[in-house]
Point group: C2
Chain length 326, copies 2
Amino acid sequence: MAVYTDVSESQLTAFLADYDLGPLLSYKGIAEGVENSNFLLRTGCGTFILTLYEKRVNRGDLPFFVGLMEHLAERGLSCPLPVHTRAGESLGELSGRPAAIFTFLEGMWTRRPSAEHCRAVGGAMARMHAEAADFRLHRANGLALADWRPLFDSCHGRADEVEAGLSDEIAAELTFLEANWPADIPRGIIHADLFPDNVFFLAGELSGLIDFYFACDDLLAYDLAIGLCAWCFEADASFNVTKGRALLEGYAAVRPLLDEELAVLPVLCRGASLRFLLTRLYDWLNTPEGSFVTKKDPKEYLRKLRFHRSVDSASGYGFDTERMKA
Amino acid sequence: MAVYTDVSESQLTAFLADYDLGPLLSYKGIAEGVENSNFLLRTGCGTFILTLYEKRVNRGDLPFFVGLMEHLAERGLSCPLPVHTRAGESLGELSGRPAAIFTFLEGMWTRRPSAEHCRAVGGAMARMHAEAADFRLHRANGLALADWRPLFDSCHGRADEVEAGLSDEIAAELTFLEANWPADIPRGIIHADLFPDNVFFLAGELSGLIDFYFACDDLLAYDLAIGLCAWCFEADASFNVTKGRALLEGYAAVRPLLDEELAVLPVLCRGASLRFLLTRLYDWLNTPEGSFVTKKDPKEYLRKLRFHRSVDSASGYGFDTERMKA
């Protein structure tokens, strides 16, 4: 949950004076997003989301994030649309923070994804990849392969507090990934954090994607690998191949996958697992006890990583060459 | 901020099946209330607040709280109105918690109360007292005079960690209040927590009162004393007599104050200050370091208590006998 910065009515009224949104009726801090402060805003023109960008977000990245949402929304992808001031700006300043207003998306994120949810997510991810292809801005992935070793170095001395042998296991995995990470497969803008809480459904249909604050340029199939990790495991860490097949089919129906992408999918999934294992490990070791922040268990991603090491081809994720190939 | 219990779409859909509120469109946990989990709920029929009652709230008190809001709303006081199921129930169960749905009140709480805000709050408090007079349920104040000594006993050994001599000062104050607490002045249902964050304003007008979860039977003028403490001090702990006068005038214009009530106002204000000093002291000493909960400084109420000890009549709060007497 996240409201780090309070906003007074007079500050917000002054901020809204630059917009054509009618009178301010109410605003409530909402428990959504972990990097920013978010408010549900009601004005004479309807319901909106007000986001204040906290220090963990690089200000220089904001034109990319906000511009990408605008680009995607203009292409018909359902995602929050930045609202412009009368002067045409979509980023302002409020309570000493960069701030933006977005349209409100109805819908709920699903706590229990089904295969049909996975199929819809695969399709939406592929549409996002396709529509973002001609977006004019770019952003390097701040949590890419090259960033994992420094992250590991900052916590490897304490990794075995989480599980005996974890430090050695991560070191070996890093060495493997550094030697085997693919380069010559399609690149583009990826969401990079398309977890269930960032996808809304309404009446059984996917109604929108949110939280583009990890979006970046990277291998398109790496986004799929993150999706397989985020959507297709059961609570006991078993991989549900029906969900995997649905996610891959949903994706491939919009953007067919190349043989080269399929061949490296297990390596990409190992990378995606290690990325979340490392950030969770870092947070686990550095979040004070008694904090209200829910610590996410790094071992969940250790179990996923071990599963991916056992997979030797895309068919292990349910990919059916006959039905889905490019 | 408060969302202690997560709710899944399927649980909420099942809960809503008993209501005539149309389809579920979205729900977001909001950072409002410190005792309960609150969600902003949108359905085909509009915007509502969904409250899940956490363990700190006694289930046996819920019919009083929810019934009081319904009673007051029916009398035209602007406060959240409990929404009934088709069977006429206003309390149900969701995610293992008692739960209720309320109408949504537009408006914002004011971070910087003016004298006009204070006047409006005084008037709304008096209307609440008048309209609640014939409410059929009753609830003893769980933080009344008799509860302060046990609360003090649980933390007096560490009170001096906050300020040297604090333990002795509280002990003497308790002894004074136990000997001088009034009995023969009007009683009724009071809000008991009418702080600025529980009063909404819209376009300069008071638009509603919320958070009745400390409401109880007690001395009516004790609510005024809490209001004087909550609304009429400046950030430097100085008492703003213009705001005090406005709050008292606003109140007395609706329900004239008796001589006996005015005479004991300084004692009641000392009691109100001690009540918040003690609960803040308890929380200060018992909230773990590093917790995301903002600890409220007990010394703020120590300074207010000392001010009230210097007041010998209601005129010290701006009460003007010529203009306001019963």
